[in-house]
């Protein structure tokens, strides 16, 4: 089953977030709760956890990209 990981909304005013760093690459195994990436928005650096266990099937943004809230940033297959 494929699970989409989306850019979260960290506060009411947030419109997008910068994908600051990937901790996983395509093909890597990931456990639920493991840190998938870090994002930065409005001077807040926040960790994004994998919501399920599996294999990273796709990274949909590059480091430095600004991604709108709700847009898919990664796909985990497990």
């Amino acid at each position: 089953m494929k699970t989409e990981i989306r850019m979260p909304r960290l506060n009411a005013d947030m419109k997008d977030g910068m994908l600051a760093r990937w901790n996983k690459q395509t093909g890597d195994a990931v456990q639920q709760g493991e840190i998938l990436c870090e994002i930065e928005t409005d001077k807040v650096v926040s960790e994004i956890e994998a919501s399920c266990s599996g294999t990273v099937a796709q990274l949909c943004a590059q480091e430095g990209d600004r991604v709108p809230v709700g847009q898919v940033i990664a796909v985990v297959e497990g």
Partner: protein, 273 residues
């Protein structure tokens, strides 16, 4: 609320203390410190794009990278750093207001006509006196802010002189006109600190006493992370820059592409300085 007052102006130790506090399962903590002259950059910034490396080297002013987002700032003993660490319920709105608004009210209680600026700054008379940033790690939120009391504003301008010739995907600082709070407050640093603490925490706080073992953990973290070139300089995103030796590509702080083979493998600052 627990209270920890730093006894050092060593930025490496104070940044390590912040990280250590965030990694502990403690009740809410307020940590207050000042640093000796230093430039502190955001976690995903490019040191070379935000600072004047030649001026920093000439004046022996160190650079440190913090764990939160945002832009580059200059610290000295005239700048108070206020750090709040707590565990917030999942899904809590990570607005800066939770911390910025009480600080605005505390400054006003001291007779300073402070206002919130942008989403996370505080200004007086339109000039910035405080900037905030946050990081969230393992469910613990760390919010910290500067508070310019009698900082050397000329030094701030001297060291935070960015290099627009760099092509980088790093987070860029937002420059703002700044001022010092001492223009609006009759009293010195110690009096200001005491008055500010009373206004911010009228119900008082409980001191947090660190054990020798905890102090040693912080010292080790400062040594192994916050005093290293690898973290402070090289941890920023890759970039391309025009130099006297031609265009160079820099990854992890080291030149990986350059027309001059003598530059390859060298630290970027050693190529440009």
């Amino acid at each position: 609320m627990l209270f920890l007052r730093s006894s050092t102006t060593d930025a490496a130790v104070n940044l390590a203390t912040e990280q250590w506090l965030q990694e502990q399962a403690l009740p809410p903590v307020f940590f207050l410190y000042q640093n000796a002259p230093a430039v502190i950059v955001g976690k995903y910034q490019n040191v070379y794009a935000e600072t004047d490396p030649a001026a920093l080297r000439r004046d022996h002013v160190p650079v440190f990278r913090r764990c939160s987002g945002g832009g580059a700032v200059y610290h000295d003993a005239g700048n108070f750093n206020l750090c709040f660490v707590e565990t917030l319920p999942p899904g809590t709105d990570l607005s800066h207001d939770r911390y910025v608004q009480p600080l605005v009210q505390a400054l006003r209680a001291l007779g300073i006509p402070a206002d919130k600026q942008r989403s996370c700054d505080i200004g007086v008379g339109g000039d910035k006196v405080s900037g905030s940033a946050q990081c969230v790690h393992a469910g613990r939120t760390l919010h910290h802010c500067t508070l310019l009391f009698d900082t050397d504003l000329a030094a701030l301008e001297r060291y935070l002189r960015g290099n627009g010739g760099l092509v980088s995907r790093a987070v860029a600082s937002v420059r703002s006109p700044v001022t010092d709070l001492c223009r609006y407050y009759r009293g010195g640093r110690e009096q200001f600190e005491a008055d500010l603490l009373r206004a911010l925490f009228p119900q008082g706080m409980q001191p947090l006493d660190l054990t020798a073992e905890q102090t040693e953990q912080i010292r080790r973290l400062a040594q192994e992370k916050y005093r290293t070139w690898a973290w402070n300089y090289a941890a920023g995103p890759a970039f391309t820059a025009a130099t006297a030796r031609g265009t160079v590509r820099v990854e992890r702080g080291v030149v990986v592409e350059c027309g001059d083979p003598a530059c390859l493998g060298r630290r970027y600052e050693d190529v440009i300085l």
